[in-house]
Symmetry: C2
Subunit: 233 residues, 2 copies
């Protein structure tokens, strides 16, 4: 029925959504693929191709209605449905996620936070009380959260992931630096901060090398020049 959309396209959708959200806030009513492409630093062709995976949202000679396109992409991203989120791990990262207002605005409702540490249990994050891990099973089976965010040490992430999936959870937002091997009906999205930092590190070095190469080239050019000057003498 619905064709499979490539991950390359899906990765770009939230970015389109963000830009359209900004335009909308500025009360821009319409935008052409060309204008948007210039702002976003992509090709207009790509924007049109991407959007046409989901249907024709534009109008020839006019472009795209910002409000409409924003809403439609929101629907494609599933932001029109509410997502009840449970966070496992109430360390800094878990708390950061729990407190991040942007999520709530987009329909991601943090419903509960769990931790093993006795000193954290009962503490409040915003208006959410931290619960004991021992209560997790009952909670998950009864409340059927849509998403479980794993913000706990990698030593425990695998086990907890397997557990919550066996209790009926179908979507995992994983912050632990491990690969989760889960049944294929389960959706996993990873946030691997260490990998991100390593890519940054790679690019720092690459840029350094690039600059050194540039300087070397300059130097060589200068030498060749002076040599040819010598030759001419």
């Amino acid at each position: 029925m619905q064709k499979v959309i490539s991950t390359a396209v899906i990765k770009r959708l939230p970015r389109y959504y963000r830009y359209l959200g900004e335009l909308r806030k500025k009360e821009v009513v319409r935008i052409s693929s060309k204008e948007l492409s210039e702002r976003m630093n992509v090709t207009a062709s790509q924007i049109r191709q991407d959007l046409n995976n989901f249907g024709g949202f534009g109008q020839q000679g006019y472009g795209y209605n910002v409000e409409y396109l924003y809403t439609e992409i929101g629907k494609i991203l599933g932001l029109d449905q509410e997502h009840r989120v449970v966070i496992i791990g109430a360390g800094n990262l878990g708390q950061a996620i729990a407190n991040y207002g942007d999520f709530a605005r987009r329909g991601f409702d943090i419903k509960a936070v769990f931790d093993v540490k006795p000193e954290l249990i009962g503490k409040e994050i915003g208006d959410i009380k931290i619960r004991a891990m021992s209560e997790l099973k009952e909670y998950v089976i009864e409340q059927k959260p849509d998403i479980v965010a794993l913000a706990l040490p990698k030593e425990h992430a695998v086990q907890v992931a397997n557990d919550v999936v066996s209790w009926g959870v179908n979507a995992i937002w994983n912050f632990a630096p491990v690969e989760l091997r889960l049944p294929k009906h389960v959706v996993v999205e990873n946030v691997h901060l260490t990998e991100s930092l390593m890519r940054l590190s790679y690019n720092i070095r690459a840029k350094q090398n690039e600059q050194q190469a540039g300087e070397l080239a300059k130097k060589l050019a200068a030498e060749v020049k002076s040599e040819s000057a010598v030759t001419k003498e």
Copy 2:
């Protein structure tokens, strides 16, 4: 001089590094591209192609020495050089980054954390005292940090990014949901949590649709079957 490596390859490097680190911990001495490909769920061909962008690390008939390959990829990723990191924003996210031990192990040293909020200034995170934003300029110019992590509201991220770059910073790890437009000598790595969550949301819906389609197909098949049964009567 050195050829440009595609971002697709660079994205995979940290994952290779992680797997090799695990093998190393298990005291596995050698591994073939085939074995590694099975563990990692990629093709052996891709592994060999990826590694050969940087040189021949293996040996025909033998495979790769785990320890050696691990070290070499580490070097490629720039993990053999120390990175001094400054975090801007001492909210939950900033604190989570500051406390994340994995980074320190990989040579990313959190040297300082800054915030504007008076109630946070002077507070300690681990053994790092939170400093006032007013001291940032002097600190950056004197200490020349290698990386600045932006863990502050998007309203301020753009300004702070421009500032620190003008003070000599060349690498930004950006957690704010904005696009930073910086001079091309500056390396930027983004962690857009909202986008990650939206992709998860997209995939949740896609999977739902898939399952519905599956059920529909079954139903139709059943109908066709019963109809043909009727026809046969």
